[in-house]
Subunit: 409 residues, 2 copies
Amino acid sequence: MHVFTEHALMKDLHQAGEKIVLLVLDGLGGLPLEASGKTELETANTPNLDRLAAEASSGLSIPIRPGIEPGSGPAHLSLFSYDPVTYQIGRGVLEALGIGFELGRDDLAARGNFASADKDGTITDRRAGRIDTEECIRLSAKLQDATGSCLPGYEVFVKPVKEHRFVLVLRGPGLGGELTETDPLVTGKQPLRATDKSGTPEGARSAELVNQWVSAARAVLLDEPKANSLNLRGLAKDPGLPSFGEIYGMRAAAIAVYPMYRGVASLVGMQPIPFQGDRPAHEIDALEQAWNDYDFFFIHIKKTDSYGEDGNFEAKAKEIEAVDEVIPRILALEPGALIVTGDHSTPAKLRSHSSHPVPTLLWSPIAMPDAAQSFGERACATGHLGLFHATTLIPQAMYHAGRLKRFGA
Amino acid sequence: MHVFTEHALMKDLHQAGEKIVLLVLDGLGGLPLEASGKTELETANTPNLDRLAAEASSGLSIPIRPGIEPGSGPAHLSLFSYDPVTYQIGRGVLEALGIGFELGRDDLAARGNFASADKDGTITDRRAGRIDTEECIRLSAKLQDATGSCLPGYEVFVKPVKEHRFVLVLRGPGLGGELTETDPLVTGKQPLRATDKSGTPEGARSAELVNQWVSAARAVLLDEPKANSLNLRGLAKDPGLPSFGEIYGMRAAAIAVYPMYRGVASLVGMQPIPFQGDRPAHEIDALEQAWNDYDFFFIHIKKTDSYGEDGNFEAKAKEIEAVDEVIPRILALEPGALIVTGDHSTPAKLRSHSSHPVPTLLWSPIAMPDAAQSFGERACATGHLGLFHATTLIPQAMYHAGRLKRFGA
């Protein structure tokens, strides 16, 4: 409800203007290890970000709702201004996008887990002993060969992800519904059959096809030493989100090392930009090369989150410093507005995503230079953006880039 | 809309976790007597609350909407995460709960006012010259005797409140609707008949029963010197709020000296805990005894509000100090999260509830220790909770107590 209204407003008001960069450091927000200490961001030596903060408006972003610990998919949707409570995306879709699979609007996608089972099918290990990725590639190819044509009238794609995880995509007419997962979620139980909760013909048909494929696939795996079973989770279709380009009138590009983030960006119609390398500097190479062809650039930095999940406070601070070093190259392109934020917090102290609000700055030549004179959680708490919902960020950047007409005369 | 969605989200995400304490100092927020001075809370010597604040996230709570002066009932509903603009509770229900009346789900309750009228029934004093409470008790008993059986098939309860105020409860089949008040709201007018705006059979029947009782009751009062008439306001039933336990998956206890607050808590399904005494220390005795049997504890401190209403700045500050003294006993129980807040502000300077936002802290071992290093209105304004709606507080405490699953993968 809310989001549709905001989007309608943006459609009415957008106009041509300057370019916008949304720089997302995944899991940026942190916590001090001791109550009296500094966070990862406060610890990092960031002369460029601090100078930006002194000229920018700062604040703290709420990705989903106060108190909600965000997953990466919903947190990014929110930054793209799609309220993730309204727009819920199935895990299968995110996983398929994550490996760069070109998901059609009518495809049904699921996240698959190779598993171990005993002779009567009872699950003994939900991750098949966390088999390595090479084994996952071999097993996925084996399933693709043996089950690719097992559903007459439907295409079947089995693609490896990482370790015990794979993606299943069914393509063909009349798929849909609201399907339950086959994973019993605990060991010592039989896997479940997929069932449809929507009560639609598409749902009934899809559940039947999924169960048929699962039976065929488990039969193929019977002789495997570890991964002799599997389960499906997050069965879903592309939800068909409203187009970012139509809402905001901007040609949008996505620059990300990890397929997952290119995938989420492509769900709203952003164009993923291919490039070589995996460091922040390589991503800025891609930014420079694509600069003339787009109006809006989403740049995703992954490792801040990974180090947070590892509990590696120092490495997270160092990665923030690596991003700090490329800031002058972004400014040299003269964007109308530059946002630096995170999709959520991942404090090394917690080794996990967390619900804490995310430090954010909005730099622009016409930004209000507020009380926040450096970039950090507590400095941001004093800033002019206040404590705000992540979905409100792009409209603010649009204004600063001259991309919004006045509302009313 | 908003609130239903939030509740649905909470139902999806809640899980078992640590215990939560919501400590409410009624009317906590204040004002300095002079612009350059300190508030009641800032004046009070609160070493324990200050230490909590240094480790906690702080902020300012908006109970209803900015600028709205809250009543106690709605302000508590909001703290319990029921937006009081969506969930409006009839005054009759609040009044019945306020005197400790055990209201059934299907009872119809009204706030009654004894009044003075001239010979033709025209109201000459809407409060019967503010008769004292003893007179109110006598008159209520007289009405109970004379009209308790005047509605065949229905039980009638007439209970004294204070001065000219009493409670009427009708109990029996098929009560409901949306009834108008009998009070003309000005003197020199005839009382009104209760009418039903819902157009339902329950409404029509209820209006008829109410008018029948009012006629009988006025006849009983005819010979009274002052209170020779009466009016009914806020006719309503228990609205049947969604259950706190179902939304949050927590067994919730309410510890409060005054029946009104136990009543509001029981409206959402919290369990009132009986105990001896009326000081904060007695309430903590009750907390300690009930600790193992519940997941969530609402503790209500009344006197901060009472002293604010009296304009007694010093006594309000002293009561805050009495609460400060029991904080170590709460912490010794090792809650996962402790909220200290008020339901609204009651500045001694104004001798009244006020719309000013309410100082709040959320303490937890994983809270962001923000810029607020003491507990006070102006310190809270620098904190990480920002200026927030009271309904968002429990979800945040839930996260900090490990009681919420991640949203999305």
